[in-house]
């Protein structure tokens, strides 16, 4: 009797575990639809229209997208799922999701190399509304004669600096400059940064600031090293591509590292005028954003996506606000007189060609709605804080990002915006890792600079070759 009871218990436990398994399955497939709300599922099926599934690239915009999706579903009955991949997990998530029956209909393409990888999933956006409204057609990624992906925002990067402190600095005895405008080339920037860093106590005493350094720490940990392997190296690539006369964003198969001496100059300035111990830059213990936010540093190389961290209503507890900050180009010692901010994007919408035609139609309609409707435009500009490259974003919907405005200001002064040449990087993650390793050796343990150059040049050719000969 007792044995029977045990077996009954075991069987029911087994059955229960099976049920739990199935339940979990159903749950996970429902995860995606959380935004749309299950109540609308029936409605959309009746309407006979397809559904939309956006695999979002920017974690910080997830909330805004969920709300936007809900609004769209309420208005049209079309089901819109928004799933956001975790930071740094986009590729992993995308590969898994694309393999499913209900695959994403909109996904992110970063550059031409991505196109090669997802070639089978690329829908030609030539006739789409988003391409039509795109102000600068060079912001679309073209691949094998198709308009593979359309930029949904553009961003700029440069050196964020604390204008207020710098203006005060000009009044200090022995200051290298008498006006902030004098910083318009690498040498002056270097002289100012060195002077501030050397006389930090004196300046603090004179101005009542709490500076510890000129440049915020140049962290070599994975959370920060892309600023250099990507963005800073991008300037060196830009000048090289410009000389070679190739496409500035698509790049070419070989690089020579022609401008790496300039890179070295800038890099040495970052490291040499910072309070961070150069030997521990890869520890991950530094927060450059915090250093600038608390007024400990004056300069910080990063992009306009940092704007919201200092904007009113942020919860970072920073003493420095957007009013204090501005952005200048990363002067590289090549063509400083005409160099503007680096403007480009890694965010392009691509539409999944393998989705059903209904879903594709629904997707294109949704994207059009996003960039033309009041709700969509308001959400992109105000809630997501993006600068959209579409002609529909005018008036109230023009970007209010102060750093992005600086990009236009430099352009208006006749300076040339630097293209995002690092978008050409083959096997991005690998190449960057291979470049950061000798850079870390050089910075932290007195390794040879030649190794950095070798990695830059050889690995580029190596990965380019691999990527294009498969």
């Amino acid at each position: 009797m007792k044995k029977k009871l045990v077996s009954v218990l075991l069987v029911s436990a087994m059955a229960a575990s099976m049920l739990v398994g199935c339940g979990g399955d159903a749950g996970s497939s429902n995860n995606g639809t959380q935004a749309a709300g299950s109540g609308n599922e029936g409605g959309s099926a009746e309407a006979g229209s397809g559904s939309v599934y956006l695999l979002n690239f920017k974690p910080e915009t997830d909330g805004a997208w969920q709300t936007l999706a809900q609004t769209y579903t309420e208005q049209t009955g079309v089901e819109v799922n928004v799933v956001t991949a975790a930071d740094g997990q986009y590729k992993t998530t995308l590969q898994a999701e694309l393999a499913k029956d209900e695959a994403p209909t909109i996904y992110n393409i970063g550059n031409a190399a991505d196109c090669a990888e997802y070639a089978d999933y690329i829908y030609d956006l030539k006739d789409s509304a988003i391409y039509e409204h795109l102000t600068d057609k060079s912001l679309a990624v073209e691949y094998e004669g198709k308009v593979a992906a359309v930029a949904n925002c553009y961003e700029c990067y440069g050196i964020i600096y604390n204008k207020s402190i710098l203006e005060q600095y000009c009044t200090v005895d022995g200051a290298v400059i008498s006006s902030v405008d004098e910083i318009n080339n690498l040498d002056t920037l270097n002289a100012v940064a060195t002077d501030i860093n050397n006389r930090v106590d004196e300046i603090n005493a004179a101005l009542g600031t709490n500076l510890t350094e000129a440049f915020a720490s140049a962290g070599l940990d994975s959370g920060s090293n892309w600023r250099f392997s990507g963005h800073l190296a991008g300037i060196a690539l830009y000048y090289e591509f410009k000389d070679a006369g190739c496409d500035l964003v698509a790049g070419q198969g070989t690089v020579t590292g022609k401008y790496l001496d300039n890179f070295k100059k800038v890099w040495d300035m970052y490291v040499g005028t910072s309070a961070a111990d150069p030997a521990t830059l890869d520890s991950g213990a530094y927060s450059a954003q915090q250093e600038i936010g608390l007024g400990e540093a004056v300069f910080y190389q990063n992009g306009d996506w940092e704007y919201s961290a200092f904007a009113p209503g942020n919860e970072n507890g920073y003493t420095v606000t957007t009013d204090d900050l501005s952005m200048m180009p990363i002067y590289f010692g090549v063509d400083d007189a005409t160099e503007g901010l680096a403007v480009g994007t890694e965010n392009h919408w691509a539409v999944n060609a393998k989705a059903s035609q209904e879903d594709i139609d629904a997707t294109l309609a949704f994207l059009e709605w996003v960039i033309t409707s009041d709700e969509g435009r308001a959400s992109i500009t105000n809630e997501m804080g993006l600068t959209a490259p579409f002609d529909t974003f005018t008036g109230d919907y023009a970007s209010n990002n102060g750093f992005a405005a600086m990009a236009n200001e430099y352009a208006a002064q006749g300076k040339t915006s630097v293209a995002w040449s690092f978008n050409a990087t083959p096997a991005v993650d690998d190449w960057r890792a291979d470049f950061i390793a000798p850079l870390t050796e050089y910075t932290e343990r007195g390794g040879s600079w030649d190794d950095v150059v070798t990695a830059f040049v050889d690995q580029w050719a190596y990965y380019w070759d691999q990527q294009n000969n498969q």
Binding site: M18, Q95, L98, A433
Partner: protein, 285 residues
């Protein structure tokens, strides 16, 4: 009753077998198949034969040592961690079965690290390591050896408590009369340990060494969070190397998959060999 169990065995086993097939056998076979394909997503493959396997070691006719490096680095890591974990947890288990005051408290405390997930644990340790090493102008990823010992420390800290519990259970299972008899025969503490405790503990040692061995080979979370494979890719253990190939290198999913198959074969061979080796030494109690 016996008959009934035999008769209904397939029925009872069915749900588990179905789950096992769906959750393990199918993906496993599919994975082996994919290792001979070039693919971006798992439903979209193109047969390429053994090209993936050759590419692990030879790229463009040049020897690529990164996978070999992580094989021996992993092997070394496993040897060190298996030894340290088993020896230390055995010593602690011996100490905590002697009936000293606060035994339960100690057991709980030693076991606690095991309840923290690998990623969180490693981030906490990362802060500790770097805070200490900062004084010497070093970080945990200053060289592949500092990364190595960092990993060993974290993994030991995490697993010693768990193995200790298994050892304690084993030690408590040794019949008191055996020890008493040995004592009456005049065995000293060392002889008692060598000739009674250890032989009686062989099944436990089998389990513990098996667990630590496979854990060592499969280590991923801690590797990812603590060193991320830095400096360069020098501290990549096998699992992280495979992950990096799969997701970090454009168009290399198939090669990552091929590495994973080799990885499986390697772990399987070693685990079976280890099991055979230690099981042979087990005595019937």
């Amino acid at each position: 009753m016996e008959k009934a169990i035999k008769k209904y065995f397939p029925l009872f086993a069915l749900p588990t077998m179905i789950a096992f097939t769906i959750g393990f056998i199918v993906p496993f076979l599919y994975g082996i198949f994919l290792s001979f394909c070039k693919f971006t997503t798992v439903v979209d493959w193109k047969w390429v034969g053994i090209e993936n396997y050759t590419k692990i070691f030879f790229v463009d006719g040049k020897l690529d040592t990164s996978f070999l490096h992580s094989i021996w680095y992993t092997a070394l890591f496993t040897v060190v961690s298996v030894l340290v974990i088993n020896v230390v947890s055995f010593i602690i288990a011996m100490a905590l079965t002697k009936g000293i005051k606060g035994t339960n408290l100690f057991r709980t405390v030693f076991f606690l690290p095991n309840l923290i997930g690998g990623i969180v644990l490693s981030y906490v340790w990362l802060m500790i390591f770097n805070a200490v090493l900062q004084n010497f102008s070093k970080t945990i990823v200053s060289s592949q050896w500092s990364a190595f010992w960092g990993l060993v420390i974290v993994v030991c800290w995490q697993q010693i408590g768990y193995m200790m519990i298994i050892y304690i259970a084993g030690i408590q299972n040794i019949p008191g009369e055996l020890i008493e008899a040995a004592k009456i025969d005049g065995a000293n503490a060392w002889q008692l340990l060598k000739s009674v405790t250890l032989p009686m503990l062989m099944p436990t040692i089998t389990i513990c060494s098996f667990l630590t061995l496979t854990n060592g080979f499969k280590l991923f979370d801690q590797n990812l969070a603590l060193t991320g494979g830095n400096p360069g890719k020098m501290s990549q253990l096998l699992a992280l190397n495979i992950y990096d190939t799969m997701y970090g290198t454009t168009g290399w999913q198939g090669i990552g998959q091929a590495k994973a198959v080799i990885f499986f074969i390697l772990v399987a061979i070693i685990a079976v060999a280890q099991n055979k080796l230690t099981t042979r030494k087990e005595v019937q109690g």
